[in-house]
């Protein structure tokens, strides 16, 4: 197979030989903005993206700064992962066509005062910023982007098979709350314990990311996540669920939130290989216990999109969601 080198920082576009033979012109399918109750979740599997000219097509979407960051990664797979993460977030947001002035390549990002990445939209006459929120998470084998309207969102994905190098209970005692340690200590099977540890980690991480204040802004020891049996009869869940309806709640020992005091959680098994957790903030005055409407797409931008919610690629573990 022909190989070639494309300069990342040159402003001149180097058209690589292979692009004449494969350049996907499948456009990004536009998607309607999520409603206030909805969460959209897009993911890509790096192992399915091998074509060098497709990867170069993605590379051309990135800003010079993003390209620099991609090239800083040590190792080819890490570079590819970093590239796909940026390509995923740009193409995902571009699908919603929030602003006709903004294209997939002209999208700008910045960090908020707490360091959380957000979109920097061009200024409108009325000064209103669109309310699209996103959050990215990645493992070496799966990269995901969650999108909501008007709610802070945090997501975390972890490989189900991930091994923990430290002793799990020592780790939990050091970083988790007493209640959470007890939950884990009560599990005698080490494999089940490891799985429950990872699920708890992803939920806690999703919450911290939704808060947007960084790891030290909401230390893991300052909030407890609990599974509660959900109230019966207050809603209907779709049929694709093996687990009992359970609600996941957070008790914070500090006054964590500025403007929202309710946090919705969802955790599910994704693509048979990962745990995925979502946390979104809802206004305090919103009705209690309304399930999150979740739509999940598997994507290879410019090649294919497949809606997989409602299939066995998405298996509920906990939280109220449809």
């Amino acid at each position: 197979m022909l190989s070639y080198l494309c300069r990342a920082t040159s402003s001149m576009k180097t058209h690589c030989f292979n692009q004449k033979f494969f350049h996907s012109s499948f456009p990004l399918a536009p998607v309607q903005l999520p409603s206030h109750q909805e969460t959209h979740f897009w993911y890509i599997l790096p192992n399915e993206v091998k074509n060098a000219s497709l990867l170069n097509q993605y590379l051309e979407l990135l800003s010079p700064h993003e390209k620099e960051n991609v090239f800083r990664m040590r190792g080819e797979e890490l570079k590819k992962g970093a590239l796909l993460a940026r390509a995923l977030v740009r193409t995902t947001i571009a699908r919603y066509q929030v602003n006709p002035q903004v294209s997939v390549t002209s999208l700008k990002f910045r960090k908020n005062i707490h360091g959380k990445p957000e979109v920097e939209w061009p200024h409108n006459d009325d000064g209103h910023q669109p309310l699209l929120h996103f959050n990215l998470s990645h493992t070496s084998s799966l990269i995901a982007c969650g999108v909501t309207m008007n709610s802070p969102i945090g997501i975390d994905v972890e490989e189900k098979q991930r091994t923990i190098k430290n002793n799990i209970l020592s780790f939990a005692r050091r970083y988790f709350t007493h209640h959470e340690v007890e939950l884990l200590a009560a599990i005698s099977d080490p494999e089940v314990q490891r799985q429950e540890f990872i699920k708890l980690w992803t939920l806690k991480e999703a919450y911290v990311k939704a808060l947007g204040r960084g790891f030290s802004g909401a230390p893991f020891k300052t909030f407890t996540l609990r599974y509660k049996a959900a109230a019966k009869g207050s809603f209907h869940l779709s049929g694709n669920s093996n687990s009992e309806a359970s609600e996941i709640t957070v008790d914070s020992f500090e006054n964590a939130s500025d403007f929202t005091s309710k946090w919705q959680f969802a955790i599910f098994e994704l693509a048979g290989s990962h745990y995925a957790a979502i946390c979104r903030g809802i206004p305090a005055e919103a009705e209690g216990s309304v399930p999150m409407k979740l739509t999940v797409w598997k994507t290879i931008p410019f090649v294919e999109d497949k809606r997989v919610s409602g299939t066995d690629a998405v298996v509920r573990i906990g939280g109220l969601f449809d």
Binding site: M1, S3, L5, E76, Y175, E205
Partner: protein
């Protein structure tokens, strides 16, 4: 030194060497120990790298061991004191595990606010020595 072979199907990236590559070394760059020995130097910060006298080479080596083990780095992958963990593929769980591994190895406790500031081997080594000093005081 080219990082990618010409026949690799993934070699669509240009070759960039932000930091000098050290071939075949299992441990951290020895230049750190040379600089650390000069006690008369004040700490210099440049845009590219941070030269510090505070962490001894043995500390840096031990930190490298913990990081290598956590991130399962291939033996031939050089680990420079100023490479960011994130550049090596570490996520937040890896970083927390590294901090915990360091706490156990050095018998110290790292406050969670400080843990976020540990992004490289050098930063970890510097903080560890600071904490050990504080403990001894």
């Amino acid at each position: 030194m080219a990082s990618f072979s010409a026949t690799s199907s993934l070699s669509f990236f240009s070759v960039r060497a932000n930091n000098p590559q050290v071939s075949g070394r299992n441990s951290c760059l020895k230049v750190v120990s040379m600089v650390s020995a000069r006690n008369s130097f004040t700490s210099l910060r440049t845009a590219r790298f941070h030269v510090s006298c505070s962490a001894r080479p043995e500390t840096v080596e031990q930190v490298c061991e913990v990081v290598r083990k956590q991130l399962v780095l291939p033996a031939e992958r050089p680990l420079l004191p100023n490479t960011k963990f994130s550049e090596l593929g570490a996520d937040s769980l890896d970083t927390v595990e590294i901090v915990m591994g360091l706490e156990e190895k050095f018998d110290i406790e790292v406050a969670e606010e400080s843990a976020e500031n540990i992004t490289t081997v050098q930063e970890a080594a510097d903080l560890i020595e600071k904490l050990i000093l504080k403990k001894g005081a």
